[in-house]
């Protein structure tokens, strides 16, 4: 039951992009087409869950043991950067099609604040390892959901006659705002 609450809360109620403002840069940057949005969501899910596991283990078994919790930020960003690099190399070796699909998104993920944000939030919310994995996977799904919905809307938007002044970034932000308004309807479910 507890896990279901974590999932619903992370996907819908506290959606990482639309309610917590993490990962807004890729949310705006790669939401031009549905196909790229799907690729990005896949890559983010993969890295986010992996990063949550590795950072959790390092935090509990190294940082906390040695009493150097203040090194959290530096350690985490280095772990994520090297993890992304490693995933890229492994993917290239074992699965060409998957690499072709996700490859170009991987370098972008290092500076995706959602990944680092989730790693920090897992510690902040005092989850255990399993809860942390469920939470990060659900968060990644929430990110993918928001990203794909926005990409779908923006594809339609291309065909419309948008006023010159709000073309590009402004209209995307306004659409995202309305989307966030819709997601606010989920408030109070859990």
């Amino acid at each position: 039951m507890e896990y279901i609450i974590i999932i619903i809360s992370a996907v819908l109620v506290n959606n990482i992009v639309l309610a917590q403002f993490l990962g807004v840069c890729p949310f705006m940057g790669v939401s031009n087409k549905v196909s790229t949005a799907v690729g990005m969501s896949g890559a983010v899910t993969f890295v986010m869950v992996l990063a949550a596991i590795v950072t959790y283990l390092i935090y509990t078994f190294i940082l906390q043991k040695l009493g150097i919790v203040f090194m959290q930020t530096i350690t985490y960003i280095l772990i994520i950067a090297s993890l992304v690099q490693m995933v890229e190399i492994i993917l290239k070796k074992i699965s060409q099609p998957l690499y072709q699909a996700l490859g170009i998104f991987l370098p972008l993920i290092t500076t995706n604040c959602a990944v680092l944000g989730v790693a920090i939030l897992v510690i902040k919310k005092e989850y255990n390892l399993l809860e942390g994995v469920v939470y990060s996977a659900a968060t990644a799904i929430g990110f993918g959901l928001a990203l794909i919905i926005l990409a779908g809307i923006r594809e339609q938007l291309e065909l419309l006659d948008v006023p010159k002044g709000v073309k590009g970034a402004p209209i995307s932000l306004i659409v995202a705002g309305i989307l966030a308004l819709a997601f606010m309807g989920f408030t109070g479910i859990v």
């Binding site: 639309l18 309610a19 917590q20 403002f21 993490l22 990962g23 807004v24 840069c25 705006m28 203040f70 090194m71 959290q72 930020t73 530096i74 960003i77 280095l78 950067a81 290092t110 500076t111 995706n112 604040c113 680092l116 944000g117 920090i120 939030l121 902040k124 002044g165 709000v166 970034a169 402004p170 209209i171 995307s172 932000l173 306004i174 995202a176 705002g177 309305i178 966030a180 308004l181 606010m184």
Partner: protein
């Protein structure tokens, strides 16, 4: 480009938030009031100034291949300094900004300036660029924060000037997106005339 232009470009012509549309996460999340926005901006400015200074000083000694990881370590060190300082001296603001202080590490503006500008320029130029960009970002966050505070709770710098509540949605998440969207449209309009 002379030094004055170098400093002032961050405010308007190349404003990181309104023109380059970078650093969206902290810009949307921390601007529920003008004070919070300015606090976040000043923290970012400090990191930007520090990282630009150090990167410009030592970029000659860093091999090209490990450039980005080295920059990230430099930035992360400054972020840790800011994190600890704010926790000690302004605990109230620190509570409010919360997770977005450590997340300055992945703010595209900071890494972007280190990579695109500071690593290729002399110390004085890099410092001025960092200061200008940082203060430009602070100004943008201040404007967005003030706008949301006025519209959302009818107050400015916590001073209330109407009775009752404002348009609540501007303080909540959707208002952040919508307010920034219209602000950027407004700035575009000024720039193009």
């Amino acid at each position: 480009m002379n030094q004055l232009q170098n400093f002032s470009k961050g405010f308007f012509r190349e404003n990181p938030l309104f023109v380059l549309v970078l650093g969206l996460c902290p810009a949307l999340a921390t601007t529920t009031s003008a004070i919070n926005g300015l606090g976040m901006g000043i923290a970012t400015t400090f990191v930007l100034l520090g990282s630009n200074t150090v990167v410009s000083l030592i970029s000659k000694f860093i091999p090209d291949k490990v450039r980005i990881p080295s920059f990230i370590v430099i930035i992360a060190s400054f972020v840790t300094i800011v994190d600890l300082l704010m926790n000690a001296f302004v605990p109230e603001l620190y509570e409010k900004l919360g997770i977005f202080i450590p997340l300055i590490v992945v703010n595209c503006i900071v890494l972007g300036r280190a990579e695109a500008f500071a690593s290729k320029n002399k110390l004085a130029t890099a410092v001025l660029d960092g200061l200008g960009m940082g203060l430009g970002f602070t100004m943008a966050l201040g404007i967005l924060g003030a706008f949301r505070e006025i519209a959302g709770s009818g107050a400015i710098f916590n001073y209330k000037f109407i009775n009752g509540d404002g348009i609540l949605v501007f303080v909540l998440a959707p208002g952040a997106f919508i307010a920034l969207g219209y602000l950027i449209a407004f700035i575009n309009r000024i720039r193009n005339t």
